[in-house]
């Protein structure tokens, strides 16, 4: 039922997320429950991907859903799909959680960054094997290695582009542009955007 997260479904099948969100904005608990059932799988999956900690991912998923309820009236359909809006909120929260944990262990950070750089190949592989959507996997595979690494470190691991540059041993400017070029390529490959 709610396992699939194909965005095309937003128009063609399944509950109308725009309508459910609009009803939620008016305080409709039933509509919000239906919205929850549709988006909880993607939200939890993304958050867990970034945090890699089950208990924290549950907490953050809960925070994200309460934030969706609280700010439902602020969603603007002309700015993008509901799923994009909710996953953007979820990613922001997950990243905030990662960074606050990092700040707490600031002095260990350099050592950790080294270790992470070594472990990077594993992670990239895991990501590719775990992707449920063939199209996403295929599109990620179409990026150059540096583009893909930049996108993966930033999005799935919650690193800033400066950290990604340090981990990949590349100049800041290079990572900035690879990140953008990679995302533009993904956008075109996935056929999102106008």
């Amino acid at each position: 039922m709610n396992g699939t997260a194909r965005f095309a479904g937003e128009q063609h099948r399944g509950p109308d997320l725009v309508e459910l969100l609009a009803l939620s904005a008016f305080g409709d608990h039933d509509a919000f429950r239906r919205l929850y059932l549709t988006v909880a799988g993607p939200v939890f999956g993304l958050v867990r991907r970034v945090l890699r900690d089950h208990a924290q991912s549950e907490e953050v998923t809960q925070e994200v859903m309460l934030e969706v309820w609280r700010t439902a009236a602020r969603y603007r359909p002309e700015r993008g799909e509901v799923m994009t809006w909710i996953l953007t909120l979820a990613h922001r929260r997950a990243v905030d959680r990662v960074r606050s944990a990092q700040a707490a262990t600031d002095r260990d950070r350099r050592a950790a960054a080294q270790a992470q750089a070594t472990a990077y190949d594993d992670v990239a592989e895991q990501v590719e094997h775990r992707l449920e959507q063939e199209q996403v996997r295929r599109c990620l595979a179409s990026l150059t290695e540096l583009q893909r690494e930049s996108v993966t470190l930033a999005y799935y691991r919650g690193h800033t582009y400066r950290e990604a540059a340090e981990m990949l041993g590349a100049p800041l400017g290079t990572i900035k542009t690879r990140l953008r070029d990679g995302l533009i390529r993904l956008r075109d490959c996935l056929g999102v955007g106008s």
């Binding site: 965005f7 999956g45 859903m65 995302l183 956008r187």
Partner: protein
């Protein structure tokens, strides 16, 4: 100084939440003057969301119940105002996390005479009238409160804060507790009072109160809680206290 061309290349890092703070703020300012960048950020976010959704998995079953229980005490924002994904303020107040454990609830909380229950009823009535959007919720709360007050073993504990006071009412036989606020310090914009059960030094969320005078039935069972604490938190509440307690009320 960063040039405009340089700024434009930051759409990717911004969309992926990979810009550290000074640059993020600068780029947000740039976005207000760059419709093309704004459009690009939207498109890149749509692409990233596909990457996110590719990670879809089954959410643990317990979350649904907690979320549905939580929304009852979260005040919804009006349509006018910043979209939280613009990061224009909703997320700016980074929460400072304090240790999960509080010092044991103590007992230094000055215990004054309990607020008369007649006064409580007046406060509830006043709130019901003033906050129309909460009227149904409050009526339910009031009914639940009345029920709680009829418990044979109902007890109260009061402490002062500023020129106001808070009272906790509880019954072990019902396993329930309620909180009454009378003229607590005023809340600033974007803040609420959050209530916590003190489970042997660990704070368990027990609901929100959006006004400095009013009442709320605490969420969750009293169980073995030894006290109730009140902190000021960002609207929507926190999962752990992010400020020191304003009030500490021992249960017993």
């Amino acid at each position: 100084m960063t040039t405009t061309a340089d700024l434009h290349t930051l759409t990717g890092a911004y969309a992926a939440h990979a810009l550290p703070d000074p640059e993020r703020t600068e780029f947000r300012r740039h976005l207000t003057r760059c419709p093309a960048c704004t459009q690009e950020v939207r498109e890149l976010r749509a692409a990233l969301a596909r990457l996110g959704a590719a990670q879809t998995t089954t959410a643990p079953p317990g979350i649904e119940a907690r979320v549905m229980a939580g929304i009852g005490s979260v005040r919804q924002l009006r349509p006018r105002g910043p979209d939280p994904t613009d990061e224009g303020g909703v997320h700016q107040n980074r929460r400072r996390r304090l240790a999960r454990s509080w010092p044991r609830f103590a007992l230094a909380a000055s215990v004054a005479a309990a607020i008369g229950l007649g006064g409580v009823a007046v406060d509830q009535h006043h709130d019901t009238q003033r906050a129309q959007q909460y009227s149904v919720q409050l009526q339910e709360q009031t009914a639940a409160f009345s029920h709680l007050l009829t418990a044979p073993d109902v007890r109260t504990s009061t402490a002062t804060a500023g020129s106001g006071a808070g009272t906790v009412v509880w019954s072990h036989s019902r396993g329930q507790a309620g909180f009454l606020a009378a003229a607590l310090p005023s809340l600033t914009e974007g803040k609420v009072y959050e209530l916590w059960f003190d489970d042997a030094g660990a704070a368990r969320p027990a609901g929100l109160l959006a006004s400095s005078t009013g009442s709320v039935l605490l969420q969750g069972p009293v169980d073995g809680a030894t006290g109730v604490g009140v902190t000021v938190e960002p609207t929507g509440g926190s999962l752990q206290p992010t400020s020191l307690p304003l009030l500490l009320l021992p249960l017993g």
